[in-house]
Amino acid sequence: MNIDKKITNDLVANEVSFVTTVPCKQLAGVIEEVDKRDEIFHIPSNKEDEGMGLCAGAWMGGKRPAIIMQNTAIGVTINTLATLIQYYRMPLPMLISYRGELREPVACQVEMAVHTKALLAQMNVPTYHFHQQSDVEEFDAILKYTFMCNKPVAILTDANFWGGYGDQ
């Protein structure tokens, strides 16, 4: 099955019904799929910390949220993760495109890639790294884990996972 559909099916199967997104070329397919599904309310946000605020509110309103974003936004959301999502103990699956890894064409992306796992580790955010396409099989279990423990959980998805960037 196509990865975008598989990820979206897992979101729906786990009753994730409120998804906010900040775009990324790698995530374009999954964002399009999320947008198409009637079971999911899709609300694009302008910045990732804003998106986490939306997710916090949606969760308190009884919906399971998720955020789809780039790893550069870890730099934007540290305070929000610490003082909102973690402090109030809220679940938040973060599906993250891991830019700046192998096959990356844009050098500047590497500058946040080298900090991504260190920052997530410093924040005690459980982190999973999808490198092979078969890694997507764990997504369902990761969602269950997230809503079991009420924590933000990061799923880093690199270029190899998405099948590269096409012709460069």
Binding site: L54, C55, A56, A58, A82
Partner: protein, 184 residues
């Protein structure tokens, strides 16, 4: 009027609604004036009251009032287009605009100078935007609730803070009792 005087006056209206209250002194004031399980106090994360309130209003049908400040909206300006393009009928964003960063010592914000938040909200796509003076807040808030339309209120008032104690309630307690109030 300063913010705490407005909050005292509108407390009887807020009591029956879900309220998301901005970080710092606004939450301390509301907590001291009329603590309710239906109040969600932000203890950190400046700027996100409007986003949390929007997410909450989109997720369930009860009326949600976010009490925000001019400084906090300025730090999260992307919130206005998101609200403007997704405004649910049960959401009221009330921006207490006193032209200053109250919690940090009343340093001036740009809304006390040339910046017009009501005009920015309209330009961002918010259809129902009202600008009111402090003394008219209660009337305007009740009208917004009764209208059943998503509304952005910009309440112009004086700069200043009441001396209130810091909130010591555990964040998970605040969140848990708030969620029970949402679900009740």
């Amino acid at each position: 009027m300063i913010r705490s005087e407005i909050l005292k006056e509108i407390a009887p209206i807020l009591r029956d609604q879900l309220v998301v209250c901005n970080i710092g002194i606004p939450s301390q004031e509301l907590h001291a004036i009329d603590d309710q399980p239906s109040n969600f106090y932000m203890l950190g994360t400046m700027g996100l009251a409007s986003s949390i309130g929007l997410g909450l209003a989109l997720a369930q049908p009860k009326t949600v009032i976010s009490i925000d400040g001019d400084g906090s909206v300025l730090t999260n300006l992307g919130t206005l287009p998101t609200i403007g393009n997704n405004m649910p009928p049960n959401y009221i964003l009330m921006i207490i605009d006193n032209g200053s960063y109250g919690s940090t010592g009343d340093q001036p914000t740009y809304t006390g100078k040339k910046t017009d938040l009501a005009a920015m909200a309209r330009a961002a796509g918010c259809d129902d935007v009202v600008e009111v003076q402090d003394v008219d807040t209660g009337k305007a808030l009740q009208a917004a609730i009764d209208s059943g339309k998503g509304t952005v209120m910009v309440v112009k008032c004086d700069s200043g803070n009441a001396k209130m104690p810091v909130i010591t309630m555990d964040p998970v307690v605040i969140r848990d009792r708030f969620m029970k109030a949402v679900a009740s």
